[in-house]
Symmetry: C2
């Protein structure tokens, strides 16, 4: 059989508002459309660039009506047909499942990898090495997830627990279970075992295998996706009836219970940039003063650390504050602390409650 | 002799950049041109309104070339001739002395009161009562200062120490000495004696008496001021040679050493708004959330106290910060704490050092 990598396709679900990154990220301009790593490219541009060496032109992006145009503008080299537009948001199982059904119809041996549009990876070659192993495992009909080696006892991610190694592969391990986001004590206990890794929501699997697994627990869902792939003109009609469920709950967790999932450990520097505190960690440390996402010359700080995002061409000055977060945009300013970064979500709710939907 | 109040003139020196109130106050737009009390009027407009019941039209404003136009625009009811323009800044003795010389030339019995353009007074009628007593004392040839009853052990003001009462006046006391800004321990000790009051830089005195006193320690200075008043066309030529000295050092302190100064205690709620922390105290307490100078609807705060100045029409959000100061202007943003409010001056120096004179 041919090199499985030649049958490997990347599927990039591009959704989610990133409420905790307000006012940078907005409902109309979610985080994958922004340069949050200071790379000079947006997160979705970086995601595509990272996958190119593995898949070449074999890329699908699945997104909502609202963002399709911005995505095409940011990725002129991606063919228009590669952007699958969901009529309405239906969570990750429908998004990835639609791509799987389209791929299966073209090639029953097609392998897909799903990668969120808004994650950051530091070591690109380590990432690619990991995915290559995952593709080999998928060709053997495993459902593969990537488990990120934890660098601290994170409470913002779910975890995947591994068991014995997979014979014939350099690093892969059988998955014992997926677990939800833990509290701090539980997270520390997970780390101590050495068996738990962060669930980064990356899956590599044969397209047909994914739909077959889905069909075991949600037969109508799998059948509907295959029907849409066979008759794309039915998308608008059938889409609204699809279940709104994450791929983790629909397939990965029940499959793990049946020992059908394997994990490839990844230690390539990864983050989903869940809030401004994790964004700060990803940015280069200037040695003194706050980290800056944007034009450093616009920021003047004395006795201050944290993160400043000068996003309105105005000068931002900070005096005498540790771990402060200042995000300056043309119509809204946020001042908070790294400690309260998760609660930016509550602030956005507060704005909604006060009728300021124009800002969110 | 006529009621001395009919010979009483207000002199308002309008100068000083108010560096600690950057970025609200700028070199080109000092604090007296801003509404810092939330009254809907600028500080100089409030100052003039406060003095009107005492002096009617008998007002002089002494200011620099750079601000004369803005002052005339803010005070259309003040005659153009009432705005004396200094060719260059020469500190308070020259500014008040020039007004004194002009007044003396018109009326040897004229009494003047000097009141900074950028101070805040809460209880207007108590203030007026105080000044009326001062005018009576000035008519008896005293040099009168107003001593503010301290409400806390301030280290940001100089103090005036009083001795025995002045016979024939309800509240006035003889001055023993003026003292410089104390440290915290010294300030507490001053307060404990009951003899010390804040030196608010307000003086009431016969114009001729002020110039005579000045003539004792700086004869050439007094002679030059009188020469300018006699021949106003010589202002430009003579002004640059005048000493750059504060009225406190030039006259008030040496006069106190000769027991020639009296103090009228004032308990009318006063502040010179030296920094954002004292500005915060002056603004109404909203009960919860930070105090706001400006449009309250632009500010959304959760678990936050301090001061927000929304000065650019943008929405300002603050989450999880106690005693924070956020000052938003169209071209510059300041984020600091009440504790560090005094150090805003250092931040402005930092901007100057980095060539950002456009912002200061």
């Amino acid at each position: 059989m041919s090199d499985p990598l030649s049958r490997f396709h990347a599927v990039i679900p591009a959704g989610g508002a990133g409420t905790r990154l307000w006012p940078l990220s907005r409902a109309g301009s979610p985080k994958f459309l922004h340069d949050l790593s200071g790379s000079g490219h947006t997160l979705i541009q970086d995601t595509v660039a990272r996958l190119r060496p593995l898949v070449g032109e074999r890329i699908f992006i699945v997104t909502g009506v609202r963002h399709a145009e911005a995505i095409r503008a940011q990725l002129p080299a991606v063919p228009a047909a590669a952007v699958l537009v969901e009529p309405t948001p239906r969570d990750s199982m429908a998004a990835i499942g639609l791509a799987a059904a389209v791929l299966e119809a073209r090639d029953p041996d097609a392998i897909l990898g799903s990668f969120a549009a808004d994650h950051v990876v530091i070591d690109q070659s380590a990432f690619q090495e990991c995915i290559r192993e995952g593709v080999g495992l998928a060709a053997d009909d495993h459902l593969v997830t990537i488990g990120i080696t934890p660098t601290y006892a994170a409470t913002g991610f779910g975890y995947v627990q591994s068991g014995r190694p997979v014979t014939g592969f350099p690093t892969a391990l059988h998955v014992r279970q997926f677990v939800e986001k833990p509290d701090a004590r539980q997270a520390a206990a997970y780390i101590a075992t050495g068996e738990f890794r962060w669930n980064a929501g990356m899956f590599v699997v044969r397209a047909a295998r994914l739909l077959d697994l889905l069909g075991r627990w949600h037969p109508q869902f799998a059948a509907d996706l295959r029907a849409i792939a066979a008759a794309p003109e039915r998308l608008e009609e059938m889409w609204p009836a699809l279940p709104k469920i994450a791929i983790d709950h629909a397939v990965a967790e029940p499959a793990a219970d049946e020992h059908a999932v394997v994990v490839v450990p990844g230690a390539f520097g990864w983050d989903d940039i869940g809030d401004f505190s994790s964004l700060a960690v990803l940015l280069p440390d200037p040695g003194r003063g706050p980290r800056v996402l944007g034009e450093r010359d616009l920021v003047h700080a004395l006795d201050a650390t944290g993160l400043v995002v000068p996003g309105s061409q105005r000068t931002v000055t900070v005096l005498g504050l540790e771990d402060v977060i200042v995000v300056d945009t043309p119509d809204a300013l946020l001042v908070t602390t790294r400690e309260r970064a998760q609660d930016v979500k509550a602030l956005v709710e507060h704005l909604r409650d006060h009728g300021r939907t124009d800002l969110i």
